[in-house]
Amino acid sequence: MNTILIGLGNPLLTDDAVGIRAVRALSKESWKDIDIEEASVGGMELVEMMLGYGRAVMVDSMITGKSSIGAITRMVPDDFEETRNASNLHNVGFIQALKFWSSVGSESVPKDIVIYAMEVEDTYTFSETMTPGVENALPALIERVRGELLG
């Protein structure tokens, strides 16, 4: 089963780099049947990246304000509450994009989709340096994602 590992984020916005930093570290290891990509896209583009793969693993930052900085959450698409909102601004939400692709059925949407997200502090400041709490938690994120890929 082919897997795509996607690091999401903007490497220029402080802690938003964490997903990209994690997959960059993992890309230095040797993997079989796993493609590794970085992306700063959402919704449609994101789903299009994973078409044709059996499994997609994403790594991203999030700010919920409900967890401590560095906390790692593993999620699957069902964990996202489906919005009844029509659509937001200039992008289509990930879940809606996923449903769209499933409904047109012309290409295969991965059966397994997993998202690892780390609670971060700052994604609003232009910087290539992450905050210390996130930097310190990065090895744990890499370890969790490595475990997912091997498991």
Binding site: G9, E48, M58, N85, L89, F100, S103, V104
Partner: protein
């Protein structure tokens, strides 16, 4: 004073918040749009190599990387005092047409489409792309996918990478185009042109033949009588990549026309203490608050504003559609915000026609795609992003390093008009403190028409948040929550 807050635009989809203030009688006193600001861009850029700016700025935003890439590249042409060879300009413009194609298709079908194709009064659960497919059919959905992908492929062939292009260099581009590639792109462009025509027919059938929709398009709450701004070519026709900035007045007459380099003589940014957002206005007219009309310097940018600021389209089929839109809606300028959607389709047709012209140009396969650069200095680059005029302004030191960088993005140019549109839509729907359930959608429709992009990082955690309105009384208690 009651406060109504709409917070649809979370970190997940962009950033921003709409707050509606009610007066003592329960009517709408004022509305504003708050967009959390990204910090430290200027400092981040300082000391970086100027030629990295097209890559850095295309990373700012996951939505319009191509527009930032070329605004930056043009600013570098200007900073290094170099004129790119004709082939380079045409290759940049061709790539730009690919970007406009996929971007406008996405907006019309996925974002604006649900409002029109499914209908503004349809249940919120159906007003999404899945509802569009249900109404328009699976075959249409497949065509949408195909042609959006074509636009992206064209961009990728020319740009090196689909999302974050690497081709723009001061004085030209990094790569020429082969005959094979011309053939490949040509086939895709032909198909996109047919699809653009189809989309206009679909708009006719579903929207224009429905009197209720047309009445809504031309209704007062969805009108803004502002100045209009856009790039034009030497014949005052719409141009996305190059030309002069033209501003027309409420009668559609030319009010200003200037080179991108002169923007600071004509555009001033007003700052309100309650908002991070800056509100640009025309210096010659002045700041008169968030008001429309000839006395207020607020202007609009984006698809409809571009058509209003020009005297036509430079390609034949788009020109026919341009004429038809103005004939249908009562002449130029059209101030109906919802007509931005129609204008977007006319531009989609233009982009595909223009791409076809560029592919036939003998220069397009020339190997001469870059000229040597001069001494660095100050540079300004202006392009029309899909959602409006985009300005990059850099000061480069003698070592080629950035001293100062300033950007005015399309959504900032539209900040005043978007805020007014939200206010007017809210006024039409909130009376005596009664906040109707339909308000969320109508307000969303008002700002979605602009195709605003608050999302300098739209990629983030792939979830969605429900749209929510809080009605807060004067003591700060939430008395009503509307959520969906």
């Amino acid at each position: 004073m009651k406060k109504v807050e709409i917070d649809p635009i979370t970190r997940l989809e962009g950033h921003g918040k709409i707050t509606i203030f009610l007066d003592e009688k329960g009517g709408v006193a004022n509305t504003y749009l708050q967009i959390p600001e990204f910090r430290g861009f200027e400092r981040f850029c300082q000391g970086r190599r100027a030629e990295d700016m097209p890559q850095i700025t295309s990373r700012i935003c996951g939505v319009c990387p191509v527009a930032h890439h070329f605004a930056a590249t043009k600013a570098l042409d200007s900073a290094f005092k170099v004129e790119p060879p004709p082939a380079a300009k045409k290759l940049r413009e061709l790539m730009y047409m690919g970007y406009i194609t996929y971007d406008h298709i996405l907006h019309f079908y996925f974002l604006g489409g649900p409002d029109f194709v499914v209908g503004p009064d349809a249940p919120p659960g159906e007003r999404n792309i899945l509802g569009v497919i249900q109404k328009a059919g699976l075959d249409v959905a497949k065509e949408v996918i195909k042609h959006r992908a074509y636009g992206q492929k064209i961009t990728a062939i020319l740009g090196g990478k689909a999302t974050h292009p690497v081709c723009g260099l001061p004085g030209g581009v990094s790569k020429s185009l082969s005959e094979d590639e011309v053939g490949n792109i040509g086939a895709m462009v032909d198909s996109c042109r047919d699809f653009a025509k189809f989309s206009l027919t679909l708009f006719d059938d579903i929207v224009l033949k429905n009197k209720d929709y047309v009445d809504m398009i031309v209704s007062d709450p969805f009108k803004q009588d502002t100045y209009n701004m856009g790039l034009v070519d030497s014949e005052n026709k719409v141009n996305f990549y190059d030309g002069l900035v033209r501003v027309t007045d409420q009668q559609g007459k030319e009010f200003l026309k200037f080179k991108g380099e002169e923007y600071s003589q004509h555009i001033v940014e007003h700052v309100e203490e309650w908002s991070y957002m800056k509100y640009p206005y025309l210096k010659k007219v002045g700041w008169k608050g968030l008001e429309s009309g000839p006395e207020s310097g607020i202007y609009r940018v984006g698809s409809l504003a571009r058509l209003n600021a020009a005297e036509g389209m430079a390609t034949p089929m788009a020109q026919e559609e341009y004429k038809r839109m103005y004939e249908t809606l009562g002449g130029r300028p059209v101030n109906s915000t919802l007509a931005f959607h129609w204008a977007r389709l006319i531009e989609l047709l233009y982009a595909t026609e223009r791409a076809g012209e560029l592919l036939k140009d003998p220069d397009i396969t020339s190997d001469h795609v870059r000229n040597p650069v001069g001494e660095p200095g100050e540079g300004i680059g202006v392009v029309e992003a899909a959602r409006g005029t985009l300005i990059h302004h850099y000061n480069v030191d003698e070592n080629g390093l950035i001293e100062k960088a300033n950007l005015i993005v399309a959504t900032t140019n539209n900040a005043g008009a978007i805020t007014m549109s939200i206010r007017d839509a809210a006024r039409g729907l909130i009376q005596n403190g009664n906040v109707g359930e339909g308000i969320l959608n109508k307000i969303e429709m008002a700002f979605r028409a602009y195709d605003p992009c608050f999302a300098c990082a739209t990629h983030s955690l792939p979830g969605e948040m429900p749209l929510r309105v809080d009605v807060v009384d004067s003591s700060g208690n939430i008395v009503k929550v509307i959520e969906r």
